[in-house]
């Protein structure tokens, strides 16, 4: 049976770290963003974080399910504490759709206890995929969803829900 890799929190670098069987090091950075992104929503200040997964792409090898299990384990731990997580796919190399698809596969497999909303934002230059996740037992879930949607609504030219 596959199990997550052991991970630890690097107190110096302030990141979660784990190493794979192929000797690739993954880092997960967590940044508290509630006050920055939603200054008027006091209820989000202490519970809203953005999460960033980093690894050396040149060292990445074949698909490794244990990476997914490890990332999901950390994400679940945060969601179970009542935190809201924001995530945006890197778009510099135009591979954001693939990353978004992969993350959705992970969530579909293992994220059944949680709520995930994706927003695909397209401007004249590119498509950006961002997601936010929370525990459906979260108090005021509708209020929180409205805050997120209000943060982008005024910029919308065209909208499509699925």
């Amino acid at each position: 049976m596959l199990i997550p890799y052991n991970y630890r929190f690097d107190e110096v670098k302030q990141v979660f770290v784990f190493n794979t069987d192929n000797d690739v090091t993954y880092e997960i950075e967590i940044n508290q963003v509630g006050e920055t992104y939603f200054p008027e929503s006091l209820s989000l200040h202490r519970i809203c974080y953005e999460i960033c997964l980093n690894y050396c792409e040149s060292l990445k090898t074949k698909q490794d399910e244990r990476i997914c299990l490890t990332v999901i384990k950390i994400v679940k731990s945060l969601l179970l504490k009542g935190y809201i997580l924001l995530f945006i796919c890197d778009s510099l190399d135009k591979k954001q759709k693939g990353r978004h698809r992969l993350f959705n596969q992970w969530f579909t497999k293992y994220g059944d206890q949680f709520e995930k909303s994706d927003i695909e934002v397209e401007d004249d230059e590119s498509l950006y995929s961002l997601s936010w996740m929370l525990n459906p037992k979260q108090r005021d879930i509708l209020h929180i969803q409205n805050i997120f949607q209000d943060s982008i609504n005024e910029h919308i030219v065209c909208k499509n829900n699925t």
């Binding site: 950075e29 963003v33 699925t162």
Partner: protein, 54 residues
């Protein structure tokens, strides 16, 4: 099949909403930090404070 706990909104914008711009900027900075291109102090100066909420 799409799960009930997963929704997607697709939007077109003339200009990226500030929250999206800031998320992209933060992502670049956190990646640069992970690669050792900037220090934790520089990251903090740009408003990013990495934490362990667990």
């Amino acid at each position: 099949m799409m799960k009930k706990n997963h929704s997607t909104i697709k939007i077109q914008v003339r200009e990226l909403p500030p929250i999206v711009k800031k998320m992209l900027e933060n992502k670049k900075l956190m990646q640069a930090y992970s690669r050792g291109e900037i220090t934790k102090e520089e990251l903090n100066q740009r408003g990013i404070h990495l934490v362990n909420p667990l």
